[in-house]
């Protein structure tokens, strides 16, 4: 483990984060957008964990943080998917460009 410097992890997670950002902007489909968000969340998790392991191996804050992030991501995904499917039922599409009027 010692041979891999921490920076590698950080670079990895940065790249992943910005790929997520790019996906968020490029794709117009709600589910793909959700997936991009998951990518970003994931990259953040890698950061937390790596820094925890490298810099503060005597504690577990980073670890717990990611743990809770995963849980929150799950909760978020479940609500988001419920919304997406509801939008789909209403508009028959989940392209953001076509879902103009979000009224009930």
């Amino acid at each position: 483990m010692e041979h891999i410097p921490l920076q590698y992890f950080l670079i990895l997670s940065t790249l992943m984060f910005f790929i997520g950002v790019a996906g968020f902007i490029i794709r117009r489909n709600l589910i793909t957008i959700l997936m991009s968000v998951e990518l970003m969340l994931n990259s953040v998790n890698i950061n937390f964990v790596a820094i925890n392991r490298y810099l503060y191996p005597d504690q577990m804050q980073g670890h717990f943080f990611s743990l809770f992030i995963v849980a929150i991501a799950a909760a978020e995904a479940s609500v988001a998917i419920a919304l997406i499917i509801n939008i789909y039922r209403r508009f028959d599409t989940i392209e953001v460009t076509e879902v103009k009027e979000m009224k009930y």
Partner: protein, 373 residues
């Protein structure tokens, strides 16, 4: 947004799926065109004719003896009553009285056929519901009956044994003994059917309240046989217009009034008990005598129209013969039980799941060539 509808179906549009003709649970080559909402069926269109063999047309160029072997092939699971129907109709037209022995033997055969048919139904029904072992137990017991058949008539399934005027040949000397052996055997095995399937909580959940058919609808659709009697339609021809030896045996007409799949199931199970009762009564009283009445080698029916119905394992089988005094009939029409039973399925299956449709069609005990002829 609008043009996407072509490929993306919303929740409220019907969605059509085919079940059959090659499908394990349509018992042959029936095809259901299902319109679904989600997994709920809201329309069933049965398409038949995948085994329409033109039997009625063939009858018009066959003599009455030859017709017999065609009737076997309609409802092949209970072949005897089919043969019996034509024979009775011809005998009625000719005004022939068959010997007592023939009557009793015909009745026994009908009941044995009913037992065999119900056993096969039981295993097929179990298979439909996914209980795979029923298949083997049902057929295991059925083999015993087939042995009786084979010993006397030389064939296991399609016998062409009952013919106008009586029987093709005399029964085998072992006939009586075999039946006597069979009844106690089956009395032991039948409770197992209950333990395995009827009592099972999964089975009950899957069949209770499924496929309701009210009495009025049953009559209006002409659903007869055990399926009709599950709705309380008292349609047993054996009781209402007794033929052969049915007027002298004591049996109950099984009636359940719930009208669901479970009721139809129970009617058949109860009928098996009744059939065994009938067999027990008759097996010792087979009178001696001829196995056939005196018949001319070529039968010519007097001009007229004749109708005869019998109770097969599936319901009322009617034979309608129009004759012009020839050796060939002008028109033979078979009012087959399954034909009417099948078309009630749309009424019964609406609002249920696909799996329930399978259960319902299983509980109707469909034999497809009987529908298509």
């Amino acid at each position: 947004m609008v043009e996407k509808r072509e490929i993306i179906l919303g929740e409220n549009e019907p969605y059509v799926i085919n079940m059959g003709p090659q499908h394990p649970s349509t018992h042959g080559v029936l095809r259901f065109e299902l319109s679904l909402k989600g997994e709920t069926v809201f329309k069933v269109v049965p398409h038949c004719g995948y085994i329409h063999r033109g039997i009625e047309k063939m009858c018009e160029s066959n003599t009455y003896q030859q017709i017999i072997h065609l009737t076997d092939r309609m409802d092949y699971l209970s072949a005897h009553p089919n043969n019996e129907a034509v024979s009775l109709c011809v005998e009625k037209a000719l005004g022939i009285e068959v010997p007592e022995r023939v009557k009793v033997i015909r009745t026994i055969l009908s009941e044995l056929g009913r037992l065999a048919s119900h056993q096969l139904w039981w295993c097929a029904f179990g298979m439909d519901l996914g209980a795979l072992t029923t298949f083997f137990y049902g057929l295991r017991d059925r083999e015993k009956i087939l042995d009786i058949f084979e010993e006397s008539f030389g064939s296991r399934l399609l016998h062409s044994y009952i013919c106008p005027g009586g029987l093709m040949n005399d029964v085998h000397p072992n006939f009586k003994q075999r039946i006597k052996d069979f009844i106690p055997y089956f009395r032991k095995k039948l409770p197992e059917y209950d333990q395995l399937l009827s009592g099972n909580v999964i089975f009950k959940e899957r069949s209770r309240g499924i496929g309701m058919l009210s009495l009025e609808d049953a009559i209006s659709y002409g659903v007869t046989g055990p399926s009709g009697r599950g709705s309380g339609f008292s349609c047993d021809i054996r009781k209402s217009q007794p033929y052969s030896a049915y007027d002298r045996v004591d049996f109950k007409e099984i009636l359940f009034t719930e009208g669901d799949t479970y009721a139809r199931y129970r009617v058949r199970i109860a009928e098996m008990w009744e059939s065994m009762k009938i067999l027990e009564q008759l097996v010792d009283q087979i009178p001696d005598g001829d196995y056939t009445a005196k018949m001319k080698p070529i039968i010519k029916l007097p001009e007229g129209e004749y109708y005869q119905s019998v109770e097969t394992a599936r319901g009322e089988l009617g034979v309608y013969i129009v004759s012009k005094g020839d050796k060939f009939p002008v028109r033979v029409k078979f009012r087959t039980p399954n034909f009417s039973n099948l078309f009630a399925i749309n009424h019964m299956a609406v609002g249920h799941k696909i799996a329930d449709l399978v259960a319902i069609s299983g509980s109707l005990d469909l034999v497809i060539p009987d529908i298509d002829r």
